[in-house]
């Protein structure tokens, strides 16, 4: 028997919210669970940062629909050039929690070997390209990858994420321009979450919307409710289909709100009006999707609670498993600078090893990160 799908007409004859492409119940639950897990990871990590367990964290609370809805529209073979505020995409693709948390601790279990600050994830086997701090640099790189896929005649589509702040960057302009000129199979996803650290939308651009900018570059622009996971899914799916069919790039502006601070060092109360925050609280994407799923009897209170409890437990367990791992070894400092370690780095490694013998231990004298 076929999986029950959401009805179009409820039993009382009223129209039901229409699911994107008639998603089966299992997929809807999967979306919801992923949103719950994204939030659970966020909340726990902010706590850990406050406890001094790691130096920095960048939450994505309030943007779960945007992350999960869009991630679900790509195939595993598609490449994603993420920003630093979309961990949900990683979780959707199946990156193990342990590996995410190791990266936050920067310990010896970190695939990126403790080289960068937390949240600068990198997972090649999931086609998730390594994240850097400079804003927008990933955008043009995504286009290059898309151009390469096209040259190779692969079916790969490339997605890239950035905030509305990122649209002011040089590489947004360059990337959008290249993508349209070369008809690259790229989906540009703009998290318009209202603020770039403290800079509100109105001071970031005088343009009425981000989506309208697409027209200037010669590609379609779509503005979608970023807190509606099904709308985000549908919009992204259409853009992905277009790209895969060789019809070129699309810009999607997902309108949402950054419910948390820019980072663990930021205090949004200094610049976000209270009323704005309260208004967006009522639009919480997880609450909203829950109401829909409850209405459609895909979810009940007990199941819902179980989902959130499980998410919290999974996060807690991952942390327990990896929190005591040691830092990466000293020699790792000099590896991966180049494919082969050149002589001058080997000399520097030897000198450091001598220094370690003399000192016994290196003292951590770093100060807290201020941003």
């Amino acid at each position: 028997m076929a999986e029950p799908r959401l009805q179009v007409l409820r039993e009382d004859g009223m129209l039901s919210p229409r699911p994107a492409g008639g998603l089966p119940e299992s997929q809807l639950l999967r979306l919801y669970e992923a949103m719950a897990l994204t939030r659970a990871l966020d909340e726990r990590c902010m706590l850990l940062q406050r406890q001094g367990r790691f130096g920095f964290y960048l939450p994505s609370s309030g943007e779960e629909a945007l992350q999960i809805g869009s991630a679900a529209a790509f195939e595993p073979g598609d490449w994603i050039f993420p920003s630093y505020r979309v961990p949900g995409i990683f979780l959707w693709r199946g990156v193990p929690l342990d590996e995410m948390v190791c990266n936050l601790f920067g310990n010896s279990g970190d695939l990126a070997r403790g080289r960068q600050m937390p949240v600068h994830y990198s997972f090649r086997r999931f086609n998730l390209v390594s994240i850097s701090s400079p804003i927008g640099t990933q955008i043009i790189q995504a286009v290059g990858a898309g151009m390469a896929a096209r040259i190779r005649k692969d079916r790969t589509v490339v997605g890239t994420y950035f905030g509305e702040g990122g649209t002011s960057s040089n590489d947004f302009h360059t990337g959008m321009n290249f993508a349209a000129v070369f008809r690259a199979p790229v989906v540009f996803l703009c998290n318009n979450n209202g603020y770039a650290i403290s800079c509100p939308y109105e001071r970031q651009t005088a343009s009425e919307t981000i989506a309208v900018k697409a027209k200037a570059y010669g590609m379609p622009g779509v503005r979608v409710d970023g807190n509606d996971v099904l709308a985000v899914y549908e919009a992204t799916q259409q853009a992905v289909d277009r790209a895969r069919a060789g019809e070129g790039p699309t810009l999607i502006e997902a309108v949402t709100f950054r419910m948390g601070p820019h980072s663990s060092s930021d205090d949004p109360k200094r610049y976000v009006p209270k009323e704005t925050f309260e208004a967006w609280k009522d639009r919480d994407p997880i609450d909203r999707f829950r109401r829909c799923l409850m209405q459609e009897r895909v979810l009940d209170a007990a199941r819902d609670q179980a989902i959130h409890e499980l998410a919290k437990t999974q996060v807690a367990d991952a942390i327990k498993r990896v929190e005591s791992l040691p830092p990466p070894p000293l020699a790792s400092l000099f590896e991966d600078v180049y494919h082969d370690m050149p002589a001058h780095l080997l000399e520097q490694l030897r000198a450091l090893q001598e220094e370690e013998k003399a000192k016994g231990k290196f003292t951590d004298t770093s100060v807290a990160f201020p941003l």
């Binding site: 490449w79 050039f81 970190d110 695939l111 990126a112 070997r113 080289r115 960068q116 600068h120 990198s122 997972f123 090649r124 390209v129 390594s130 850097s132 400079p134 640099t137 955008i139 043009i140 790189q141 995504a142 286009v143 290059g144 990858a145 898309g146 151009m147 390469a148 896929a149 040259i151 190779r152 490339v158 040089n170 590489d171 360059t174 990337g175 321009n177 290249f178 000129v181 070369f182 590896e335 991966d336 600078v337 180049y338 494919h339 050149p342 002589a343 001058h344």
Partner: protein
């Protein structure tokens, strides 16, 4: 063997490497139909088509940024920046991204590509067509920096750079693009990165140089020979990773070092050579290490011939260290 100019060697290499490996692609401004403003990519568009020889919009950060994406995906891009002076919009992509992809991803994302650009003065190009910016890139861990001075090396080093697993900044001495001719092996020819070349052997003084300064160093060496001073000229070829053993071996033999570079003196790449020699070969030195470099000014137009180190200026330095 064929007699070629450096420019012809570059063109020959690109053609050979593109035939050898389907992943090698070329991108940049005017590289396609026009064959490049210096004709470095002449004929490639006709042979390999627009998918592999791409004319880009006018944006250096786009050229390099897109090349990075291509390299991550598995191609081997050779990005052309029309003049090294115009590379700066791409500096963020080069320093913060290209140079750090392998390191920051724990080796998951190697980024093998070549950014090639004509550099240096001597063509009446003024501020914006004459810069020697190799020091900016040599100072960035994760990059390799390569500068040939002969047609054979232009071919061998460019081929090696294209096949290298790491990102390479390949600077071509445009002043001698067409004036220096040399024998170039046909077919496959690779010169390993990280190895200097002894351009001239001598007992009394070592002149360290690269790129367009090699002919200047050799001319000065000829003039010195007439005065009984035997000058050894070491062509560094790869600035990063440097062939330090060759650098030290020469000065341990001669005891006298002149470091020659046309870039501005302060913090120029030659300062690094000086520091290495002072740190690791001081007991062999018979004289201070003398640098001959460009002035700490923007590169002039009318007075270009006054700015550029010439054989006379180099000979003066040679004599200074010889007679110390």
């Amino acid at each position: 063997m064929a007699t070629m100019t450096i420019l012809q060697a570059v063109n020959d290499t690109l053609r050979h490497e593109m035939r050898h490996d389907r992943n090698v692609v070329v991108l940049g401004e005017d590289v396609g139909k026009n064959g490049g403003v210096f004709r470095a990519t002449e004929g490639l568009f006709d042979e390999f088509g627009g998918d592999r020889v791409m004319d880009t919009p006018l944006t250096e950060s786009g050229i390099v940024g897109a090349a990075i994406g291509m390299a991550l995906y598995g191609l081997r891009p050779v990005a052309e920046i029309q003049f090294q002076d115009f590379i700066f919009p791409a500096f963020d992509q080069i320093v913060n991204e290209m140079a750090k992809f392998r390191y920051r991803s724990g080796g998951q994302y190697p980024c093998p590509l070549v950014v090639r650009a004509p550099y240096g003065g001597g063509i009446r190009g003024g501020h914006y067509h004459s810069q020697s910016g190799e020091a900016y890139f040599a100072h960035t861990p994760g990059l390799k920096v390569v500068i040939p001075s002969t047609p054979a090396d232009a071919k061998g080093l460019l081929a090696a750079s294209i096949r290298d697993e790491d990102p390479v900044i390949f600077l071509e001495p445009k002043r001698i693009y067409r004036s220096v001719k040399g024998e170039v092996p046909e077919g496959e020819h690779l010169v390993p990165l990280g190895k200097a070349r002894l351009a001239r052997e001598g007992r009394h003084v070592t002149v360290y140089a690269y790129g367009a300064m090699i002919p200047v160093a050799l001319e000065a060496a000829d003039q010195a020979a007439a005065k009984g001073i035997e000058v050894e000229v070491l062509d560094l070829r790869t600035l990063v990773p440097l062939d330090k053993p060759a650098v030290l071996e020469s000065v341990k033999k001669t005891g006298r070092a002149v470091v020659l570079y046309e870039a501005p003196r302060t913090c120029g790449y030659g300062a690094e050579i000086s520091a290495i020699i002072a740190e690791e070969a001081i007991e062999y030195l018979e004289a201070p290490i003398v640098r001959v470099a460009g002035f700490d000014t923007p590169f002039p137009y009318t007075l270009e011939h006054v700015y550029m180190p010439d054989a006379h200026r180099v000979l003066t330095a040679i004599e200074k260290v010889k007679n110390f």
